[in-house]
Structure formats: C-alpha cells, structure tokens
Symmetry: C2
Subunit: 170 residues, 2 copies
C-alpha cells in the first residue's frame, strides 16, 4: 500500500469520525425541534416539572451553551453572548424580563443553521486541533481535548436537557 493511499485512508477515517459526531448532534437537534413544534409558546413558559426550570429557560440555556461553541472552536464571533447572563450565569427566574419564546425559537433555528454551516466548512484535520479552552502544553499531553470532543460533550449536554424538556407534553 502506498503512502498516498494511507494518507487518503487517514483523511477518510477522520472525515468518517467527524460525520459520526456531527450526525449525532444533528439527531439531538431533530428530536428537540420535533418536540418544540408540538408546543405553544405559552406552554414553554411552564416549568418542565414541579419546582424545576421552565422550558423557556432550558431552551435559552441550550442556545447560549451551543452558541459558546463558536468562540470555543475558533469559528468566529458568537451570535448571542448576551444570553449567558440570563441563561447560564444565573438560575431560572432571576430576571423578570427575559427574551420571548418566539425570539428564542428564532435564535435557536438561526444558531443551528450557522453552526451547521461552520461545521461543514471545518476541515477534518481542524476538528482534531485544539479548542480555545486548552493550552498548547496540555493539548500536547491530552490530544483528545480537541474541537470534536467539545461537540461530543455539547451533544450529551443537549441530550441531558432534552430528557427534561420532553416532560412537558403537548
């Protein structure tokens, strides 16, 4: 087998692995969108269970955390950094005024379109590069702390909150 073939195989393997991870992220988005499509905006103002976070808070939380990938992965400027204060740094019901459900739904759809475009443009080798929250020194020791690992982690994070959101039925 030639070096050229081996290089192709390595590239193919990386692309395959990226596809696996991105597909699983898309699957969680599809499930969340399917749930979202069934519920009225008013319903999302209710807590997902007694004494727990409101659905609107969890939706805002997922937008803020997933939006954070844009800077963490060095893809560009975050779209909605202002959401961190309401949906990440503080618990639900801290603020009287929060974005409307309609506004968050628009942001969620837009964010996913933008992330999908960024993810498509990112080369397989870049996915295996370090993300912006790990030092060069630590990355040399721990090469699994790459960009793709962030997406694996954020996909699990989305699944975790999706499990809570679906407690709210149409």
């Amino acid at each position: 087998m030639s070096t050229q073939n081996e290089t192709t195989t390595l590239k193919n393997s990386k692309e395959l692995f990226v596809k696996m991870v991105v597909s699983n992220w898309e699957l969680q988005n599809q499930r969340l969108n399917g749930w979202l499509a069934q519920l009225s905006d008013e319903r999302l103002l209710e807590p997902v269970a007694e004494g727990k976070n409101r659905a609107v808070y969890l939706l805002g939380h997922l937008i803020a955390v997933n939006d954070g990938m844009i800077s963490l992965l060095g893809l560009g400027e975050r779209l909605y950094p202002e959401l961190d204060e309401i949906f990440v740094k503080n618990p639900d019901r801290t603020f009287d005024e929060i974005p409307t459900v309609a506004d968050l739904k628009t942001k969620w759809a837009n964010l996913n379109a933008v992330l999908t475009r960024y993810f498509t443009e990112l080369d397989a080798d870049e996915w295996f590069g370090k993300h912006n929250a790990v030092s060069q020194e630590n990355f040399a020791r721990e090469p699994h702390r790459n960009k793709l690992n962030i997406l694996i982690n954020r996909t699990n994070h989305e699944a975790y909150h999706l499990g809570q959101l679906i407690f709210l039925k149409a």
Copy 2:
C-alpha cells in the same frame, strides 16, 4: 514520510477517536454514580417527577439498554437479557414484581465493569467495524454505522435519562 509511519498515524488516530468516545461514556457513568451514591434505595422507588417514570425504572432501563451493547457489538453474551421485558418492552408500573433497587445497583456496577473490560480489549479497527444490527450491504454504503457509533448513541441515551434522574434530589 514512510508507509509505516502513516499506518502508525492512522492507528493512533483511530485509538484517539475511541478514547474520546469511551471517555465521554465514562463521564456520564461517573455523573450517574455520583447521583446514585447520594440517594437511599427507598428514594429510588419514587417517580422523578409527578406522573413520570420511577427512578428505579430508569435505572433498570439504562442497565437493559447498555447491556444490549454486548450482543450488538458482538462482545459476548448479554448479562441481563431478562431485564428487557420489564424495563424496555413495557412501561413503568406494568409489573408488580420488579428487581430490588439493591439488586439493580449491583447489576449496574457489574455491567459497567464488564463493559469497560470489553471496551479496553476491543481493537481500534474493530470499533470501526459494523455492528450486528446493520447488514453488510448497508454498512458498505453507510460506514458510519459502526460499533463506535453505537456507543456515541448509547452515551446520549444515558445523558438523556440522567437529566431526568437528577430531578430526584437527595
């Protein structure tokens, strides 16, 4: 660069992918175990939220589904196939008699030890081979439907239900 080096790089890359996926699975297990350690057996008999599944059911469900990986990945004989009837094929509260929480906790710990050993023994190339629920023909067209993809999927599944379990506080 020699062919030998390229082969090593391919092998190293695949091992890195496997490590990323297995680490994220282990992380979910650690979180679930941390939660489990805080709750009494009696507490797990309660629903995680009003009208929802009991924690004991979700624990049994995760054991059954994760145990299913043993046959799906061709690792050996399943440990607890009898749990499927109670925790997968039927909803919570179908049966009056179900395994005790103590029994399920033991099974959960044992299953994770067994899976960890299997995962360690599985070669990186084998992880990229087809699992037992996809045909050779479909696998040729869709090579992402490999064993590692099953573990990514099951990790998201565990995160989803962990998000529900933690509604039950110590």
